[in-house]
Symmetry: C2
């Protein structure tokens, strides 16, 4: 037979079992924490009508899209989870209750140029809160709490949720008479961390043609640093000159005011006036999250407030706020940095039942007893030498082996071996189940990420 060389497309992540087990635990934390905040799970098709998906049209994204025809249909694969959400809310407006809070964890597709760490298929994990006409600022205040809990539960403590408000920025640039150039200015200011204030100043003056005083004023503004209280106090100096700025300042104060009640420590939160988020549709609070020891990774969780989720599909104003984690890239980077825990249980089960006789019946009923007690259990049924069976248990990292030989069968007992300590005890099957369940309740508590 002619054989085809098996391969996986470049830019598509496909993990070996132990790494996949870590990714699953990573995703479980997201699912659990998003649910803890009252977001309902949503699932939308990977394929949409191209007309619907590209309603907004244009831009860099369109080139990257996987678009094709099937029969008469012009189809495309989703490139984010926001456009499908907009479609869903516009389509099901009458059946939803607002505020509508949904999370979606799903694969999206972008035909980027293949390079290390860039993926063409990747998971996004999004939450959004959509209001019907209005949406209270308290929702924007809740987002940092969700980010804080999620990253803490993943195992991180050294991260900062950076928050800004587009109204403050737009108001400030209006004050300087630079509203029309504000997009270009924000993109330049965004490079501050990478290239420093002097080079940003040069870009503002030379490339964007700003007056030196205006460039100075901008550099002074984005240099405002300190505790939340200090930054807010410094911003007060600009109050009363522009209504939009003042509204943004009020929103920013509201967002920071709730932090203690939402359980977000000050050390994990910073008002950062350099944050703008490139996308046009953000209109209020914007968020970025950075790992303190790994600024080179960039933002690992970003989002913001927008006024019109679905303007391409409906005339109903649907304001919202949302954040997104680019799971595949983040997981890849954590792996590259050696930041994924190596103490996590990644075995396919907690116990491997190893029969040492030809008659498997007692081994099978022992496995059934373990499973009935909720213990993840595999039976090793291949006819191999004992050493080969134990080496299988070792290689896959089973926490426990349950050995069943003639003596055990005669006594109706099983030899429970802790693969970590080597300790071995003779127990009745139900007691085996209890012992493994108790031990695993502790061992499964570990975090996915180590710092």
């Amino acid at each position: 037979m002619e054989r085809i060389k098996p391969r996986t497309l470049s830019g598509f992540m496909e993990l070996l079992p132990a790494q996949q087990a870590k990714l699953e635990q990573f995703l479980s934390v997201l699912r659990r924490d998003y649910s803890l905040y009252g977001f309902t799970p949503l699932d939308t098709p990977v394929i949409e009508s191209a007309e619907v998906l590209l309603a907004k049209g244009g831009g860099e994204t369109e080139k990257q899209i996987y678009r094709f025809t099937k029969g008469d249909s012009d189809l495309a694969l989703r490139f984010d989870l926001t456009v499908p959400l907009a479609k869903y809310v516009a389509l099901n407006y009458g059946s939803l209750s607002f505020p509508f809070r949904r999370f979606q964890i799903g694969k999206v597709y972008r035909g980027e140029r293949a390079q290390r760490g860039r993926f063409r298929e990747f998971y996004q994990a999004d939450i959004d809160i959509i209001g019907d006409g209005k949406l209270d600022i308290a929702n924007e205040a809740e987002i940092p709490s969700i980010i804080y809990r999620t990253f803490t539960d993943l195992g991180l403590s050294r991260f900062v949720i950076r928050v800004n408000n587009r109204k403050i920025l737009n108001g400030f640039y209006a004050l300087l008479g630079l509203s029309e150039q504000s997009g270009d200015i924000m993109r330049s200011v965004d490079k501050l961390d990478k290239i420093g204030p002097e080079k940003v100043g040069a870009i503002l003056r030379e490339e964007l043609g700003l007056r030196p005083e205006a460039a100075e004023e901008i550099l002074r503004f984005i240099a405002i640093r300190g505790s939340n209280a200090e930054v807010l106090a410094a911003l007060e100096a600009y109050r009363g000159k522009n209504a939009l700025f003042d509204a943004g300042l009020e929103e920013l104060k509201a967002v920071t005011a709730f932090l203690p009640e939402f359980g977000v420590p000050e050390k994990n939160f910073a008002v950062d006036l350099t944050i703008a988020r490139g996308l046009d549709y953000y209109t209020g609070t914007v968020y970025e999250t950075t790992l303190t020891d790994h600024p080179e990774i960039g933002s690992v969780c970003s989002g913001g407030r927008y006024d019109n989720l679905a303007e391409y599909y409906t005339d109903k104003p649907l304001p919202g706020v949302g954040i997104s984690i680019g799971v595949t890239r983040l997981f890849y980077v954590l792996q590259e940095q050696g930041m994924l825990s190596d103490t996590l249980v990644t075995a396919p089960a907690d116990a491997l039942v190893i029969p040492m006789t030809d008659d498997l019946r007692f081994a099978v009923s022992t496995a059934t007893a373990l499973r009935n007690a909720g213990v993840r259990t595999q039976i090793y049924t291949e006819k191999k030498k004992f050493k080969a069976k134990m080496s299988y248990a070792d290689r896959l990292g089973f926490p426990f082996a349950v050995l069943i030989g003639e003596d055990e069968i005669a006594q109706g007992m099983a030899a429970l071996k802790d693969m970590q300590t080597g300790e071995q005890r003779l127990l009745r099957p139900e007691d085996c189940a209890r012992a493994v369940a108790e031990a695993m309740a502790v061992r499964r508590g570990g975090n996915v990420i180590k710092e």
Copy 2:
């Protein structure tokens, strides 16, 4: 602005939140039970190289495939989870430990003609056990136990796991000198339930041109019914005439012998000689699962033993056994039949905190206390009348409301309202959390399916 009419492609399932919550619970049961048997989760790309995906080539499937080019690449969307598994095992052979047990729950794509209940994008939930060169019959014996537990945990009791063995069938047809026609014969016999023995006999004689005695013999064979012991006893009458038949009978006896130890009641299991499974690659035990009260649905979980998982990619013999549930179609049919539970909790959270004052701080810290205790909690922060807030809680089916007014704030207490009974209690936030957690541990116990 010109607006695009939002729509979802036909043949693509997109659920409203309450239905989606049910599907999520359905999928959770599958994930939990597959894990309980020591299957490791796997995830493979939705897009593969067309050359790799279509290595086997030809057939009805190829016409249905979503195939397209991107740049120079000839790509296709996966149409099942078996071909990607074969590719994965062949590609990662050196890194895997055998037997390799994996489950995968993922979307697959087939451009079928759109009609009610037919989906172009649908979830399959597969498990497979792959051996390296050999795989013990005990693995085939374990499969009914997995099917039994899964469907029981979904809420069903009236279902039958039907088992047969291809060696028995192939041996039997060899006995009759009909090996070459066995494929056609099996496809005719498969219609027995629908059209009855007389019409099957007519097809065998008239369409396939069998001698009347041979047709008689086949009808007699597939009419063998009764308890497992009775069917096995009847099959003993054919023993000693064909080696393949005898091997199949031994395997079938081994599979049924372990049922008590695997905890599968006799009433949920039947040896059924009419089961063949169309696919060529099954070589031993085959499985189908039918709902006793809904034979019209057909098999809801099928699979079998095969000798060569990955022969198109590698010369390594990789025998295996696996089953698959077509989740999307099954879920759709259960919904149509009114068989999805309507007592499941489908709200986005267990508790809705409803502030009745402008100052949200105590409401927020109460929500944080609930979340810290693991209670799924939403805060309703919109400025609406009390009635509108309660109606939101009602519509979404929140089990509990936590009311926070001026009196509650003054006392540092929250009014916990059980939305089912109407009962209301004044409790400290931590006691609220405990009360909700305890109540939900009971209420969340319900099954997804009702019979």
